[in-house]
Amino acid sequence: MTDKRMTEDEVVAELRPGMTIGIGGWGSRRKPMSLVRAILRSDLRDLTIVSYGGPDVGLLLAAGKVKHLVYGFVSLDSIPLEPHFRAARESGAVTVSEWDEGMLQWGLYAAASRLSFLPLRSGLGSDVPAVNPDLKLVTSPYADGTEYLAVPALNLDAALVHLNRADAAGNAQYLGPDGYFDDLFCGAAERAYVSCERIVPTTELTAAGPVQSLLVRRSDVRGVVEAPNGAHFTTCEPDYGRDEAFQREYAQAAADPEAWAAFTARFLSGDEAAYQAAVAQFATQSLEAVR
């Protein structure tokens, strides 16, 4: 099997400005944050981002990387609304396709199945078609003649996902509560990149969890990145939960330009190792503050 191991920066070097990039996970859960941080360090811009959004979307918006956003929501879960997303929407800094959550799945599934659209009832009667004039209806060719929303395929240039384990060939495994839509993001993409907590020999995958936990197939994957704590500060259960203290710090900083500049200087001005070191120092400080 081909060894597909890469670094975050090598993944980002394969991406181009203007690309459509799908990001796996859900809200502030199991997001490929080390890959997102690598994009922040790059000169990529004008991206179209497709996501069940969380801080991945927030950070990319704050760094001015996003031209267009396709989403069902952008949330930090324990904080209902992503602050950078709110700011970007209220300042008109980004154009959006706000879809029903289920439409996003259907668009990814259509792309992964090489269909141009899939019919869906969800969205009909709401203002989703009104604010997304590119959406069209389709009539059943059968006797019922029912009209559906024709959810267009979300064809991605690249997908970024973070799972718990993977082998060097790109077989990837989730060990937490939900696989989310990571396999569909990979299937919908021209090139999919998997980051994971730990790269293990193939033989260890089924020792760690049931065969059903092998969510992503290597035939869908172009690169594998070992990224311990790579989903920080989102959840990556059972390896770790969400860093709520850090997320609060992030959200507070995001509300104020000066605080955000300080946050960026402290956490996002260096490479991934510098980020992880700054996070470790933040955790130590928080502990001391509690004492």
Binding site: F73, S75, R89, G102, L124, G125, D127, V128, V131, P177
Partner: protein, 265 residues
């Protein structure tokens, strides 16, 4: 045949709080639903769904809000016992389930109009909102696929408006315009607020006042509603929780009293 003695504890009306009345009214939304997934958001509906299952609607399915279906009754804010797991519902299967129609959600709108169109997405012009809210999330799909109810913790003219800025949850006039499956399946059961219970049983499915909570006047509801409500000649008072419901609410589901933080009478 012997006459069974009613062993339910008696209710001392003076001790029942507004939040507890709201919980009973929310619980009634799921009455008769049988074996479907009850999906509450916020605190009061969550307490209500668990109370409904623990008392009069035992076949409801309830999730932990993450990916598991949970049997039995557990306290709000607590992790359910590991041996109570009865099913697996990751988000993808929630979509399958909601598209199948076997679900009844209770959402909280930022705006809702007289035909039940609900906004959780954004305020102002959608292209550049004055205030971005949650986004449409699952509301468009929920409303046209399965029963929907709403919980409004603070009844006001800001929430009950003539026209919502963005239709996320579909109302009856919109559903009629679409026709077909959407019109047939749209089923907005009730809107429970801190003051009253509404449904859409007025002319052309417009909003109707069903009951006012104890201590609330019809005039108060009218003054805090930004559109014309259909008001019957006689407006009943919302029911009190039964003794058994109160016991479940106070001792089992919400011993810490989180309900009182969400509802100000």
């Amino acid at each position: 045949m012997s006459v069974q003695e009613d062993v339910r504890p008696e209710v001392d009306a003076a001790t029942v709080t507004r939040a507890e009345v709201c919980i009973a009214a929310c619980a009634d939304a799921w009455r008769g639903d049988g074996e479907i997934l009850a999906s509450p958001m916020l605190t009061v509906p969550t307490i209500a769904a668990r109370t409904a299952r623990a008392t009069f609607e035992p076949d409801l399915l309830l999730s932990d809000g993450e990916s598991k279906l949970i049997a039995g009754t557990w306290a709000i804010g607590e992790t359910p016992p590991a041996d109570a797991v009865e099913g697996y519902v990751p988000f993808r299967r929630i979509f399958d389930l909601l598209w199948s129609g076997k679900r009844h959600v209770m959402m909280s709108p930022s705006q809702i109009d007289r035909f039940g169109n609900a906004n959780i997405s954004a305020l102002g012009d959608f292209a550049r909102p004055t205030r971005q809210l949650l986004g449409v999330r699952g509301a468009p799909g929920n409303t046209v696929n399965h029963p929907t109810s709403y919980w409004v913790p603070r009844h006001s003219t800001r929430v009950f408006v003539e026209r919502v800025d963005m239709v996320a949850g579909v109302g009856y006039d919109r559903a009629r315009a679409v026709g077909g499956d959407v019109e047939r399946d749209l089923d907005i059961r009730r809107v429970v607020t801190n003051l009253a219970v509404l449904d859409f049983g007025g002319p052309d499915h417009c909003a109707r006042l069903v009951s006012v909570h104890p201590g609330v006047t019809v005039d108060e509801v009218v003054a805090t509603t930004g559109f014309a409500l259909d008001i019957p000649v006689e407006v009943p008072v919302s029911r009190l929780p039964t003794g058994e419901e109160l016991r479940v609410i106070r001792e089992v589901v919400d011993p810490r009293g989180l309900r009182e933080k969400e509802v100000r009478a």
